[in-house]
């Protein structure tokens, strides 16, 4: 009895040794290729509008560099900026310029503009309106117009669906579509997905979404007759768009720099970005600075 026990133990030990040796061998192979492997952990936090894009880019990047681990979280643009400024995250994703956010020291953050996203007012599909003038839009969101019949729609109450005060989509929409006017109190939901669900299901609802969230279940509205399309945004005709910023604290290096460079390659800019409904930053014919001044490139 005792003998068999010892034999089993010995075999187990041998097996363990073999396994360890195997591991060591592979390690050596990895470094022997004379190509330093990228490694490290990256956390990216922030804008829910950017989340699907960064997630997909991260998955592809991790497939290429198995020693790099990238965690992508939402939380909103404000969260992204706050967390990266505090050093809690490596990348802070934001729809807005860091300069636009109170209480953030923008000078210590480095801005990487990775793409552009348009935003549009969206209505419940049963509201038979597809164009609003800017004044009408402002009147609707500030609560001056409360019935759709005042703008040529059905006799139905307007239901506002807002994003919370700290949302980047809201900040962009307020600045470029409403001209800074303050919205009336409405339903408030803290994610774009929920806004879409509510606008889809609630009669008379109007909200706003990043174009990447449009899937045909809600209707995007033309502003002053201009459709929120890629062509109109790149040419500067449709004003409601924002850069998608990936902020880092100081100059990035190592795996972080490699990942941010990877996002700017054609592999991401020409495939993932248009696939998900974003516009590559390289295709923009206009540029905008933090104070909102637009000029052609």
């Amino acid at each position: 009895m005792k003998k068999t026990k010892w034999i089993v133990l010995a075999v187990l030990c041998l097996a363990a040794l073999a396994a360890l040796a195997g591991c060591g061998g592979r390690d050596r192979q990895g470094t022997a290729g004379n190509r330093p492997q990228l490694s490290g952990n990256i956390t990216a936090v922030g804008s829910t509008a950017m989340q699907p894009l960064v997630e997909q880019a991260a998955n592809q990047f991790m497939a290429k560099h198995p020693n790099v681990k990238i965690v992508v979280q939402g939380g909103g643009s404000g969260t992204g900026l706050t967390q990266v400024a505090q050093g809690a995250a490596d990348i802070g994703n934001s729809d807005i310029f860091a300069e636009e956010k109170d209480g953030i020291d923008a000078s210590q953050l480095v801005d990487h503009q990775i793409c552009v996203v348009g935003m549009a007012a969206v209505v419940n599909p049963a509201v038979n309106i597809d164009n609003l003038t800017r004044q009408q839009l402002v009147d609707i969101f500030t609560g001056k117009i409360t019935n759709w019949k005042d703008v040529g729609g059905p006799d139905q109450k307007v239901v506002l669906v807002n994003r919370p005060k700290a949302s980047g989509t809201r900040a962009t929409f307020k600045k470029y579509a409403l001209g800074g006017a303050e919205e009336a109190a409405g339903i408030e939901e803290d994610s774009s997905g929920t806004v879409r669900k509510i606008v889809k299901e609630t009669p008379g609802a109007i909200g706003y979404l990043a174009l990447s969230y449009l899937d045909g279940s809600v209707k995007a509205i033309k502003l002053d007759g201009v459709e929120p399309s890629k062509e109109n945004i790149t040419s500067g005709k449709y004003p409601v768009w924002a850069y998608q910023h990936s902020y880092t604290k100081g100059k990035p290096s190592g795996a972080l720099e490699a990942f941010l460079n990877y996002i700017m390659t054609d592999e991401v800019q020409k495939s993932i970005i248009p696939q998900l409904g974003y516009i590559p930053v390289t295709e923009m014919k206009v540029v905008r600075d933090a104070s909102g001044n637009v000029k052609s490139k």
């Binding site: 909103g76 400024a85 408030e188």
Partner: protein, 305 residues
């Protein structure tokens, strides 16, 4: 002195000493964490009033919540009346609906059908307590909200939806405590009531319920405290409109949901962030208030704890 100490250590040697150290340590840890949490929230929460110079009156009694409005337009303003109002209305209505139901349930479980009440009803109610609140919220959002919109009116996102979801969520709290306090009553009291010729209903209503009163009130207050603190499920069905509702079908917002919506989006140390901490401090104060009530009631009742 030294000898005494050595003597004590000798006495407490072995498992005795280990057990004592473990339990004292655990108790101390609980006390320390409570005290530090309260201290932290107080420091953060009070800085709205101390550092930012917002008056308590303005904070509690104004419903203008514009923490991001620039100075030149009259901001920033942090009045939380609408949130407090929403919290109070939604949780009070939930308890008003839930308390009679839950107490009836407890009476049924203990006095009327103790057999299958204990075997079936109790586990069923305990399962209710175990369902995660996000599930309640999602069911509310997917079933209750459209139901209200189509059959009763309004948007569906409403005070009504909020308190219905909450009242279901606090049933286990109230039933559990009420049933325990009813069960703790001496058998003789019920028998004496029967001996005097009362019916079962009379015995329950005139003897058992009054005797268990302090336990029942404890259950209700704990239910109310739970309702006040619940964030996720409520947030999903109330619409989060920062305005005092005019009717039960209007959307509303609560303290907890206002905190979760903005939390993390605000830079540490800003007025906005401090105001959120102050709201947290207010929630903490409210739950302390409830705990004091319970202590008071339990001491006064004296029969069933």
């Amino acid at each position: 002195m030294k000898k005494d100490l050595a003597c004590m250590i000798f006495k407490l040697s072995g498992s005795e000493l280990l057990g004592r150290v473990l339990t004292t340590g655990a108790a101390a840890l609980a006390i320390i964490s409570t005290v530090t949490i309260i201290a932290f929230i107080s420091v953060k929460g009070l800085s709205t009033f101390i550092d930012n110079g917002i008056s308590l009156k303005e904070f509690l009694l104004s419903s203008h919540w514009y923490p991001d409005r620039p100075l030149e337009e009259g901001g920033p303003q942090v009045g939380i009346l609408a949130f407090v109002f929403g919290s109070v209305v939604v949780s009070t209505l939930a308890v008003i609906l839930s308390a009679p139901l839950s107490i009836a349930c407890a009476v049924f479980m203990v006095e009327i059908a103790p057999n299958w009440g204990q075997r079936l009803l109790r586990p069923a109610i305990e399962v209710l307590a175990g369902i995660p609140s996000v599930v309640y919220g999602y069911i509310g959002l997917s079933l209750l909200v459209p139901f209200i919109r189509e059959n009763i009116g309004g948007l569906g996102f409403s005070v009504l939806a909020g308190f219905l979801v909450l009242s279901l969520m606090i049933i286990p709290t109230i039933v559990g405590i009420s049933a325990d306090s009813l069960k703790a009553l001496p058998r003789e009291w019920k028998e004496a009531a029967y001996a005097l010729g009362s019916t079962r209903w009379q015995a329950i209503r005139l003897v058992l319920l009054p005797a268990a009163r302090s336990g029942l009130i404890t259950g209700i207050v704990l239910g109310l405290a739970r309702a006040f603190g619940e964030a996720l499920a409520v947030q999903m069905v109330i619409g989060n409109t920062r305005k005092i509702p005019a009717s039960i079908l209007d959307p509303v917002t609560t303290l907890t949901s206002a905190i979760t919506m903005d939390m993390g989006n605000t830079p540490m140390g800003s007025l906005w962030n401090n105001a959120l901490w102050s709201m947290g401090l207010l929630l903490l104060a409210i739950s302390c208030f409830f705990i004091i009530i319970i202590r008071f009631v339990a001491n006064k009742g004296g029969i069933a704890q």
